[in-house]
């Protein structure tokens, strides 16, 4: 695949991001190990009732083919340290929207090591964030959040996710991914924060953190 993008996490954020990127002509590698559950359907926009129980990457691959006529690569696995470099090497950009903080740090570390732009996204409750990163040129995920939390305060299972929020944030992630893969750094290192309750949007340019592995 030429100038392909890796979509890590094909859920509430990965689905709408893929729906933007695929018809824009970006070849996709979809990486996820989960299966579609009925509770996913209100926000994971590539899936339908008949997909319940099917691997998300396979259901997404089918949907992208039927809706847009594009062939995406489906890789059913969790992203873990043992496979991350092999799965992400060669990508033009990584779109990371997983529900696991450890995977966010892993994707960030691999993106930095391989020099691949990455867009991180997350949603909990009514709140979502997007952070596009150009390795070596902008603040990275570890510049913003230094390390894994030591408690469960950030577990999305506590607060759930307001369905429409993920489509807003997923589209924003795709928009940033399209820019990053063209070398456009206008939003790189800007932490976008969207509050769906008040419909407020803020974007803050962040400096690279001294002591971060990404900073010389």
């Amino acid at each position: 695949m030429e100038r392909w993008a890796a979509v890590v996490g094909v859920g509430g954020l990965g689905c709408p991001a893929a729906e933007v990127l695929a018809p824009a002509g970006v070849p996709l590698r979809l990486i996820d190990d989960d299966v579609v559950e009925r509770s996913n359907l209100h926000r994971q926009t590539l899936f339908a009732e008949g997909d319940v129980g099917v691997a998300k990457v396979e259901a997404a691959r089918r949907a992208l083919r039927s809706r847009f006529g594009v062939a995406a690569e489906a890789v059913r696995t969790h992203l873990v340290p043992e496979n991350a470099v092999d799965l992400l090497a060669g990508a033009s950009v990584i779109v990371e929207g997983t529900d696991t903080l450890a995977v966010k740090f892993l994707a960030s570390d691999v993106a930095r090591t391989l020099g691949i732009p990455v867009v991180h996204g997350a949603c909990v409750g009514w709140h979502g964030t997007v952070l596009p990163v150009l390795p070596g040129r902008s603040a990275c995920y570890r510049c913003v959040f230094e390390d894994l939390p030591d408690d469960e305060m950030t577990n999305c299972a506590i607060a759930g996710v307001y369905g429409p929020l993920t489509s807003v944030l997923g589209a924003l992630m795709a928009a940033d991914a399209l820019r990053l893969r063209e070398g456009d750094d206008a939003t790189a290192g800007h932490l976008a924060r969207y509050d769906g309750w008040s419909q407020s949007f803020r974007s803050t340019a962040l400096a690279r953190r001294r002591g971060c592995p990404c900073t010389p």
Partner: protein, 90 residues
């Protein structure tokens, strides 16, 4: 002086569900002490023995306080302090 503190979803159980609370203080640290007095337990979610927890960001208006004077950053009437934790979910 009173400023507005914006509380993320995950911590609103400590503020009675309120997204915004008002607190007095001359510095970010003093504001956090004030909100702790009104909403016990909140300070521990933001700070540890070394200062601001590593997976928490505090923005005074749109500035990350780590790049200002940290907990000693002066605040003024009408400012807003936004708590942004690392989150996962989608």
């Amino acid at each position: 002086m009173a400023i507005t503190v914006r509380v993320p979803t995950q911590l609103r159980t400590l503020t009675g569900g309120r997204e915004e609370v008002s607190a007095d203080g001359a510095t970010v640290g003093a504001v956090i002490d004030a909100i702790e007095a009104a909403h016990p337990g909140l300070k521990d979610r933001l700070l540890d023995a070394k200062g601001i927890r590593r997976f928490i960001n505090l923005y005074l208006n749109d500035e990350d306080v780590r790049f200002l004077d940290g907990l000693g950053t002066a605040v003024k009437e009408g400012d807003s302090l936004t708590v942004v934790p690392a989150i996962a979910g989608g």
